[in-house]
């Protein structure tokens, strides 16, 4: 499953941070998931108990913050929310757009002991 592999990759990146920072247990992870990243936030939350199994984060909570997918129409320049407008420019119906935000999968912060 797509989301499971992504969470495994996240665990490895957080283990790097924990090592670098000399932190102990990770209490909570705050993720920023872009609406245009192709990842379904609900699936991340549902997969988390399976992904953390037998890792150093078995007791860690996961918070997922959704970052809106904001785009700019390449035809008329209108800036709009891509999901709300079904990936079409509300002014000119253009489908070519530049992504301004909501494309990334970022670890925002971790709360540690």
């Amino acid at each position: 499953m797509h989301e499971l592999g992504i969470l495994n990759a996240m665990v490895h990146t957080i283990e790097d941070v924990v090592r670098e920072e000399g932190a102990q247990e990770v209490e909570r992870i705050v993720l920023e998931v872009g609406e245009l990243s192709g990842v379904v936030p609900r699936y991340l939350e549902e997969c988390w108990p399976a992904a953390r199994y037998k890792t150093s984060m078995e007791a860690t909570e996961l918070d997922v913050c959704v970052v809106p997918g904001i785009v700019k129409c390449r035809d008329c320049g209108r800036v709009f929310n891509a999901m709300e407008c079904d990936m079409h420019c509300p002014d000119c119906s253009g489908q070519e757009m530049e992504i301004l935000s909501g494309n990334d999968l970022l670890i925002k912060e971790i709360i540690c002991m």
Binding site: M1, T13, D16, E21, A23, G38, L106, I110, I111, M113
Partner: protein, 223 residues
């Protein structure tokens, strides 16, 4: 009470994988091994394309193939019949390979006397695009029956690949596939991508791809 602290991370989820991929590329450079990551949907003709590629290049280069599949070793057996080094990697249900798995695969296969290592990634247009495997070049196959709109539907895959092979052009007359429209859609996502239309079954157009590959391997080994 224990004190909690908040660490601002602001790192991509893939940061650890991206670093491992960079390390692997450095090692490959030192060892003069060119790693090609081959990606596509299931049924696009990856194995047939590989067979043709191996036939064209096996007298000039040492070749090793890593076949990644969720299960089975059907493809590894087929490729093994060409006489090149081949190993089967099972991803255990995962839909992609990451840099660590690729690195372990190369170690298991052994890269001594290998100039061209080919990773046949899991058939999937989504997840493999997100994980840098450490490959020198990413090649993807889009076959005619899949439709010319795929670059619009899977933008990430088309933006990470260096080469798009449009396979099965021998069946173009039977499908509503517009080669020009497809080319334009790829270029919109990735202006630098090279596009080679071919038919792995008949061999038409194969030499344009194998010529490109030969040049890339030599320049990777020489630089």
């Amino acid at each position: 009470m224990d004190a909690f602290r908040t660490i601002e991370v602001k790192r991509s989820i893939f940061d650890n994988n991206d670093r491992q991929a960079e390390e692997l590329r450095k090692k490959l450079k030192k060892d003069k091994v060119f790693l090609m990551n081959l990606m596509s949907s299931p049924g696009s003709g990856k194995t047939t394309t590989l067979m043709r590629t191996i036939e064209a290049l096996k007298d000039e280069f040492g070749i090793g193939v890593m076949e990644a599949d969720i299960d089975s070793d059907v493809d590894a057996k087929t490729i093994g019949s060409t006489g090149v080094k081949v190993i089967q990697l099972h991803t255990g249900g995962m839909c992609h390979l990451d840099a660590e798995m690729t690195s372990q695969g190369l170690e298991a296969m052994g890269t001594e006397n290998v100039d061209l290592a080919i990773l046949e990634n899991v058939g999937n247009l989504v997840c493999p695009a997100e994980f840098d495997t450490g490959a020198v070049k990413n090649v993807m196959i889009l076959s005619v029956p899949e439709g010319d709109d795929k670059p619009l539907k899977y933008p990430l895959m088309f933006s990470v690949c260096d080469v798009v092979l449009i396979n099965k052009i021998d069946v173009l007359p039977y499908f509503d596939f517009n080669l020009e429209r497809c080319r334009e859609a790829v270029k919109k996502r990735n202006p630098a991508a090279k596009i080679f239309p071919l038919s792995a079954r008949t061999g038409e157009g194969m030499e344009v791809f194998t010529d490109w590959l030969r040049t890339e391997i030599r320049s990777w080994q020489e630089e």
